[in-house]
Symmetry: C2
Subunit: 333 residues, 2 copies
């Protein structure tokens, strides 16, 4: 069970509380610091995307289809459905010669409100390319085309593509395949449940690839660099993943997952951080990630100042007046 | 601190957890049953609206302005901004001869998505009347007009209107005025923090008004009847308050508050129920309310069947396929 991580104040009083766990490990999987329960088991959700993109590189598909770092970055994204994301996913599909309708990620309006409103105004119904996972699904279709696999059933667990996903996530996080919890993700593909400390280990290894199996090492360098040099492609306007990687300038690779999961790898340091807010709500997550980075001494005051809105989130009322704030109440030990 | 109230499953595994407290008291304030912490102190938020509407009735303003039960119901609402709500609030403002611009509740788009999209399509910016609290603010303006108070500063604590709110909420919930936590609500007015058991007491008394001070008794009968006979005015399409009161046909008065507060009074029984999900997210709240009503034997199988989507909420993915569910994990003791 998690511990109290964040107090939500209204005025000077605590109105609500977020519980959860934070874990920090090195690339050998040794626990460095934590709060709450490092063994808390939950689904990694979209935080697995950078791991799931590795096969695109090590298979040779990246070279065959002449994929760019921007395209690799959007393959790792939970994007906001802004023009830059839609264009980049379309570019991948064009290179692999697969029509948009083959993206089986499902449909939701863009996270980016002005983009969603523009569709409504234009009378355009969102399609699967606007789904935050369309980049990952374009990556999956890329691998299907490269290996000559059926592209119609690629979201099913028994499909060779999903078996490949299972293997790479198992290898990187050090969880035996038969110990994963398996569920269905928001976008219809298999999703992997594991202890938080294994999520942290995966990101520790991504950040220091010599701790990965040899076949993944170069791919990890290429994928993480694609992400931190193109942070806008990984999330979008006013999104934490984008702003964190932009401010940290190559020092971290970071990825959110649904239900309030967050993973950070500290480049070259071989340190991985994983956070889960038990209630699954995003509100408590970002301040916890930054407080943990602060406790670890892995973010400077200047960097924190640039991320102030995430480190010191406020509650505003319908008059846009500040009436409360979020405060972390844990210290990593 | 709350206890585990709800498990959020993805497939067969628990992905997230909601903690919180549930308390049931009688109209004398005696604890009947609970889970978690009956003394958990938080803000009552919009669950206070039925109490805050009492002065409109007992003052004589209702009669002077010829207000209808529908208008009283929307005064107690956190409404969805549908046509029925906007029309009803406009009708109140017309009767008291105050222009819409005097509503100081702030602005947000209607909760009801088709209504929000209709505004976007028509190029109309939402105004304060679309705010979920515009009915309560119309009630506040009604009292200002009736008593001849200034209508420009009515949201400030020092204004006689807010002093009247402080008194009625104190009287009904049995919390001395100087023991309230005071904060600013989403709509800009003072908001009252108190133990959960006092929120439950307030609703127990509303449901059996002979336990209220004499001056409030008739008003409580009129307000609660206005709410349960016009449930659509209290919330809106596919909203829990509306559906619960519609199905329970006069057996309950119920009101949600922001940050996952919920209060129910069981009419004529003099029993009040209050729920707080610690994380403040709505997701866990409704299933907790219904499970508590089930444990109390105060809802029938047939009624539960009609509220199935709230009692057995599911998690769907972007393909609209069920991939998980919420299960309450407490029993009232």
């Amino acid at each position: 069970m998690g511990k109290e991580l964040v107090h939500v104040y209204r005025g000077q009083y605590v109105e609500s509380i977020h519980y959860g766990s934070v874990v920090v490990v090195n690339a050998e999987g040794e626990l460095i610091k934590s709060a709450g329960d490092p063994d808390f088991k939950t689904f990694i959700r979209s935080a697995a995307k950078p791991i799931q993109a590795l096969p695109v590189v090590y298979s040779g598909a990246m070279e065959k289809y002449n994929l760019t770092p921007r395209e690799l970055a959007v393959m790792c994204a939970s994007h906001s459905g802004e023009e830059i994301h839609i264009e980049t996913v379309r570019s991948i599909l064009k290179k692999i010669n697969v029509p948009e309708e083959k993206l089986l990620c499902g449909v939701h309006p863009p996270y980016h409100k002005p983009s969603a409103e523009a569709l409504i105004k234009a009378g355009i119904e969102p399609t699967s390319i606007y789904c935050n996972c369309s980049g990952k699904h374009a990556a999956m279709l890329t691998l299907c085309m490269y290996f000559g696999w059926d592209i119609d059933g690629y979201i099913e667990l028994k499909h060779p593509l999903q078996q490949m996903m299972l293997e790479v996530v198992s290898d990187v996080t050090d969880v035996p395949k038969d110990e994963f919890w398996l569920g269905v993700d928001g976008c219809g593909v298999p999703v992997f449940g594991m202890p938080l400390k294994n999520m942290a280990l995966g990101f520790a290894r991504l950040s220091k690839p010599e701790y990965l199996k040899e076949k993944y090492r170069n791919a990890a360098r290429i994928i993480t660099e694609a992400m931190y040099t193109n942070p806008m492609l990984v999330a979008g306007t006013d999104r934490f993943c984008t702003d964190l990687m932009r401010v940290m300038k190559g020092k971290v690779v970071a990825k959110a997952g649904a239900e309030a999961v967050y993973c950070v790898g500290f480049m070259d340091k071989g340190i991985g951080l994983a956070v889960k807010i038990d209630d699954g709500g995003r509100r408590g997550r970002e301040v916890v990630v930054l407080k943990a980075m602060e406790d670890l001494g892995l973010i400077s005051k200047e960097e924190l100042a640039q991320l102030r809105k995430y480190r010191h989130p406020v509650i505003k009322n319908h008059h846009n007046k500040v009436v409360g704030e979020l405060k972390p109440v844990f210290t990593l030990k």
